[in-house]
Symmetry: C2
Amino acid sequence: MQTYDLIIIGSGPGGYAAALAAGKAGLVTALVESGPLGGTCLNWGCIPTKLFLGATEPIAGIRAQERLRLASGSMTVDLPALQRRKDTMVGASRKAIEQSLTRVNVELIRGRARLASPTSIIVNNADNGEETELGFAKLIIATGSSPSFFPGMEPDHQTILDSTDLLDLAEAPESLAIIGAGAIGLEMGQFWERLGTKITLIEGMDRVAPTEDPEISKVITTALKRAKWKISTGKKVASIQAENNKAVVTLEDGTTFEADKALVAVGRKPNTEGLNLEAAAIATQGRGWITTDDCLLAGENIYAIGDVNGRTLLAHAASDQAEYVIRHILEQTSDPYGPGPIPGCIYGSMEAIRTGFTAEELTTQGKTVTISRAMLSANPISQSHGAPAGLVKVVWSQGKVMGISAVGHGVSHLITLCEVVVKEGWTREKAENIVFAHPTLDEALKEALLAQQA
Amino acid sequence: MQTYDLIIIGSGPGGYAAALAAGKAGLVTALVESGPLGGTCLNWGCIPTKLFLGATEPIAGIRAQERLRLASGSMTVDLPALQRRKDTMVGASRKAIEQSLTRVNVELIRGRARLASPTSIIVNNADNGEETELGFAKLIIATGSSPSFFPGMEPDHQTILDSTDLLDLAEAPESLAIIGAGAIGLEMGQFWERLGTKITLIEGMDRVAPTEDPEISKVITTALKRAKWKISTGKKVASIQAENNKAVVTLEDGTTFEADKALVAVGRKPNTEGLNLEAAAIATQGRGWITTDDCLLAGENIYAIGDVNGRTLLAHAASDQAEYVIRHILEQTSDPYGPGPIPGCIYGSMEAIRTGFTAEELTTQGKTVTISRAMLSANPISQSHGAPAGLVKVVWSQGKVMGISAVGHGVSHLITLCEVVVKEGWTREKAENIVFAHPTLDEALKEALLAQQA
């Protein structure tokens, strides 16, 4: 039986980053992947959606200037051409991933892996179905997650779609019902809205972007309503049926409506099916998320990173966990995994970001909290884009920044700066000592950091 | 004679910031202004140009997607409407400035000031020409700068224009000759190019953006040439004449060409004319820049801040000096003024930023320098905007970041993050410990910080 210092299952942002770091460090490493290299993020997630939003941004820009009566115009998108470019770009990135793995001597094994014992896996070869047992000193499970569905709203992939289906539609539907107002629903909806699709958004929680600060949700809601989205919050969907090429959505209150297509984006589930976790006595929790200890260990010599451990379902969280685990394997650290704040963004015409704690989270922890904020309405960069709605909200405890949320045009550009401010727990004095260039959107953050706290 | 704790001459970003801080601190303060509140930045500089660039950004966005054959379209700008909006916005900001000064009890005096003695000024009332002498314990001169011209190229304000004239043109000229490839020429040129004007750019130095790193200049040049700018560097202009409503530009090598309008943006000179600096024995240097010591003192109890002292001709540099001077007056600091790196941006479709030192500057100081860089071509956000040209360049000395330059679509959004990295002298390890959200343009900075240094 061939054995490796390290076997990694899954080549998404977690598995790929782990393989690259392990290869550089000289570990004899194999990376097993049953699908396309790069995982959800590259193939059906962050990257395609950013490409679609970036390509259609001028449409939103034209509309913003038209609202101010400063300009008029239009842009027509060649959707098949955009999809081909997406495929080309994603394909090039897959190739780049493969090359960089080869460069650091990581062996790439195409096939589906399952645990055979606490020290070995079996790979079912993707081409010929042959099964091979491979031994490992260390194993990293980085298999990610997939869209999940409540009973009664499973996609048929024709009319009732998941986020992957929606990327490949041949033409913009006239109307689209989006079930779930998280990042996926909001980003996808904005893309199709720009192409002329009428959007109806249904969220079971009491507001859009329900994991964000309520003030953030409010600004997003206003912007979407202005863009003629029909929004229904606090209402659960009872069922979605495909009838005569239409999606018929029935809410629990009995209301029913029709749309050409429906996107179900209500959550994700861990990819653990068929992994045979029992062979190494690996525990799971909730929907099947792999239980990990403080060092991301799921069992002896077996780590789980990224979405599959259910900690933070974000690509950069997976990569960060990957880098930590390789240092842990190399005994460069024995500290528990403590990444500090993990930044998050929702992209589109109206963007939202968050890093660190919300006021509510800190109050729940029994901390005394103060808040300072700045509106974007006076910021010259926001004004120049005809996008004065939005704010930056800073959460303080004991004189230090504990969290920042922001919403508005282009605020995703503030995220790493906010991450640094929160991670380092800036004081007001620290913020005073930084020269902010003028005019920048960044000055809204400065204004929020220096504003009266209450 | 009425006397004040503090008199400030000029209400631009320096004078205004000083007045606000002084008022808050309870100093009996007067602010003297002969023109519109807000100075060059608000009325004829940073703010109007950002508004013009922001409003026309969709045009550049459409062109970028058209180049990729992903879309087609156009946007027509209502130039008079845009100018009216500029006037409205700028007017509202002037009003906001006035209100915030009133709120902290700063007395606003409209008129032209000149020094009468080392402890008093005379103000010539703007309305009635009356002259009043006012005494001060401390004086801040913050009179800013104005466009300067070489002999033979003075504007006639009809055909041969300065940057202020160019903001108010009633329609886009068919062709525009821009003399000077600094920030003003590049930003203004990009605005008019978007409206259809053919641009010819003449720079006497050997490259566009001559104060930036040569690698940055190269990327800008390529982008402008692709946008059909005619560019001539290393050639000085001998004269510009207005003939039959055309600007006739003659270079020193005898070449001559015609354009509908010419913009002369070759430099700036300090606004010291009529200030009667001799009354307080205040020294100047070069074109008349006021000489200041390490504490920004130009004489006993007389400070000079902002453009007029010639240190850094940027709005935020003036504001930062203002805040220092007020602390110095209040005896909260006796340290010499040491702002650290001052960030700078050039805006437009192809943006450039810089903070800290260039490699050349450090080498001249005898320091050992290494360089690391990342190209934007692989960044998903750059790709999504059809704008893969550009790079982030990091300059290191003794394991610490000493300067960062960047060029490309949207890189102005990196400026404050870069400022923090340079000001704090990040090490490679420090950069490794920050979680960068994915996908962001910020990741290009991460990649540059972690790239091999050479």
